[in-house]
């Protein structure tokens, strides 16, 4: 049985009634052996980025398990999220995926109230018996595109459009900067925070500001293709985020980091169906395919492709860790020495910049 409930939830409170009634609709159609799966998205499914990729994962779940799925899109992080998650939990969903960092505490709170419902929270660090976390090692992808940027940037200055100063984003910036410096020791990464996951206009403005300030390459940790489109217009290069964005930047996109949640979502829903689901923490990277790449753009020369492929290969076979010392922080203090690597604990709580990253990291 397949059924999709599509909801728009933008204005807090006003839509509450709508959310409740629409979800209630799908309850009566679920039968005992079916799993009902809920998804909470931070952006619209048509963002062509982060949420879009999660929604492809949801579609894979429907196709491969036959489970019924519900999704609620554009849910604000914070109090509104708790309400949406609770509605899903109280309306017969067996497993609920909450797909943004800011849903961590709301998810945990609802998970405690609904011990029989399984919860999966993306990119967070709090677990419970019925709440697992999952994330992808996007920093591995950042190391690959950082290598390309280091080899191809002429000015050695790359603009990085960032969303919120959380470890996930800071880690990506640092991995990118370190990989770039490996190729070009003088490389500078200029970071601009737009304090939003999704605001095409503002993301584009940030890209313009960075290009005006001398960046000849743009990369981003926000969800819309607008920055890449600006890069295309201004004749500079860049990297797609979360999904292949070459339609918006046929010459500017050198490659894109692609989030592939499909296999994970399918396996977790199947586990709920046969009762083998257990809580846990999954953090997978290039090796399992959770972090993938779009094909190289025509502008990427053969030697750069070879170098980027070598980084991918090194990460997969374990011979290369993106956070290998010596690593120096922004203040010039050495964090780790030659040959050491940062462990996952440090990576998960990263709140400092490496040297060569320009900007102030608010706490």
């Amino acid at each position: 049985m397949r059924k999709t409930t599509r909801l728009h939830n933008v204005i807090k409170g006003v839509t509450g009634v709508l959310v409740a009634s629409t979800i209630m609709f799908s309850v009566s159609t679920a039968s005992a052996e079916d799993a009902k799966v809920g998804f909470v998205y931070v952006g619209p499914v048509g963002d062509h980025g982060w949420t879009y990729r999660h929604d492809l994962g949801r579609q894979a779940v429907e196709k491969e398990t036959g489970a019924e799925t519900t999704f609620v899109e554009s849910v604000e992080e914070g109090a509104d999220a708790e309400r949406v998650i609770r509605k899903l939990a109280s309306s017969g969903h067996n497993i609920i995926f909450t797909t943004s960092f800011g849903y961590m505490n709301p998810t945990l709170k609802v998970a405690k109230q609904f011990p029989n419902v399984k919860f999966e929270h993306a990119t967070g660090y709090k677990q419970a018996d019925n709440m697992a976390t999952y994330s992808a090692r996007f920093y591995e992808g950042r190391a690959v595109i950082g290598t390309i940027a280091g080899m191809m940037s002429k000015t050695g200055v790359v603009g990085y459009i960032a969303s919120f100063p959380i470890p996930e984003v800071v880690r990506g910036i640092n991995a990118f900067a370190l990989a770039m410096q490996k190729v070009n020791p003088d490389a500078v990464v200029k970071v601009v925070w737009v304090n939003s996951w999704y605001d095409p206009g503002k993301e584009g403005d940030a890209a313009k500001a960075l290009i005006d300030q001398g960046a000849d390459m743009i990369t981003q940790h926000t969800d819309s293709p607008a920055p890449l489109q600006v890069a295309e217009q201004r004749g500079v290069q860049g990297f797609g985020q979360a999904s292949d964005m070459s339609a918006f930047a046929p010459t500017a996109q050198l490659t894109a980091i692609i989030d592939d949640w499909d296999p994970y979502y399918v396996s977790r829903v199947k586990a709920v169906m046969d009762g083998t689901w257990t809580s846990g923490d999954v953090w997978e990277g290039i090796d399992t395919g959770m972090v993938g790449f779009a094909p190289y753009g025509d502008a990427v020369p053969a030697d750069v492709r070879a170098a980027a492929d070598a980084v991918k290969q090194g990460i997969v076979d374990g011979s290369l860790h993106p956070f290998t010392g010596p690593i120096t922080n922004q203040a010039g203090e050495q964090v780790i020495g030659e040959g050491e690597t940062l462990d996952d604990g440090v990576l998960l709580s990263m709140d400092w910049y490496v040297q060569g990253v320009q900007g102030e990291l608010g706490q």
Partner: protein
């Protein structure tokens, strides 16, 4: 550095233009006594329909017109509900926004992922060759020029024309306006439709010029900012215009400051446009008598022609 400054100002103009359209349109509607909270929804309708029209016809002129019509089309629903059926303006406006967000996503489903080059720049012959000023003022697309014309025309209309006076009269005291024979309902219809058309243009500017693509919910709250600007600027056209540029300007300048590596936390930077715009507009609008003079007294109140 001069080049960077010019580039920054050009970006400021593009950031302020949608706010100018949406807030001036809303101001006219509010001057006639109608509070339409549906700006965000009308903007999205303008954005998606304008983009769809350009995609279908390859004509940017048709795109702009369709965007405008889409905005006023949506506002017509609002007008019929609040003027014809006396529905509450606040609730109807909120519903209009929700409806606009939903219907624009539906219309735009097949438009996600399509790229467009953006409206052509129309340099004004002769003037655009002037150093600095030529680049800043005379080398834009049609909608930016249009926003300059709009503010001039609207401020002249409200200040110096008989029709402008009637519009204000309807917003200040609909009973009095009705008693001396003006068609309150008809004037309000026109004001709402004009506001819708301007919101539609603001949306069309987003999807055709600002970031020329369609993705769901791409206005990202600009409609609400436009609404706030009208109130903080105390319903005066040039202050609304100033507010739009102030907000757009500080937004862009803080992005540049970050790119320069100025040591201020990013959260403070992101807060600046909101805080600064409110402070400046409140400071320049301190005179309570003048606020009373400019605020439409009948805003949000339903009008019963029979009573």
């Amino acid at each position: 550095m001069g080049e960077v400054l010019i580039a920054a100002v050009l970006t400021i103009i593009t950031a302020a233009t949608p706010l100018v359209y949406a807030s001036i349109g809303e101001m006219i509607s509010e001057k006639a006594g109608v509070l339409n909270l549906g700006v965000e929804g009308m903007m999205l309708m303008g954005a998606v329909c304008g983009f769809a029209a350009v995609n279908a016809t390859d004509s940017s002129a048709i795109g702009i017109i369709v965007g405008m019509l889409a905005g006023s089309g949506l506002s017509l629903i609002f007008a019929v509900l609040v003027l014809g059926f006396q529905a509450t303006q606040v609730a109807t406006g909120l519903a209009l926004t929700i409806f606009g967000i939903g219907i624009s996503s539906l219309i735009g489903q097949d438009l996600v992922g399509i790229a467009y080059d953006g409206l052509p720049k129309l340099p004004i012959p002769g003037l655009s060759a002037i150093p600095v000023a030529g680049k800043l003022l005379f080398n834009h697309d049609i909608l930016v020029y249009g926003s300059f014309v709009l503010i001039l025309v609207v401020s002249w209309f409200l200040r110096s024309t008989r029709s402008g006076l009637i519009l204000r009269a309807v917003g200040d005291s609909h009973d009095a306006a009705h008693a001396i024979g003006y068609h309150v309902i008809r004037i309000r219809y026109m004001a709402i439709l004009f506001g819708g058309a301007m919101s539609g243009l603001a949306g069309a500017y987003l999807s055709l010029s600002y970031s020329p693509l369609w993705i769901e919910n791409m206005s990202a709250g600009r409609g609400w900012i436009a609404l706030a600007l009208v109130v903080f600027a105390t319903w005066r056209p040039w202050r609304v215009f100033t507010g739009a540029y102030l907000f757009g300007g500080i937004t862009i300048l803080q992005l540049h400051a970050q790119a320069l590596g100025i040591g201020v936390p990013a959260q403070v930077m992101s807060m600046l446009p909101y805080v600064a715009t409110i402070i400046v507009l409140v400071l320049i609008s301190q005179d309570h008598n003048k606020i009373k003079l400019n605020a439409p007294a009948c805003i949000g109140k339903p009008f019963h022609p029979t009573s």
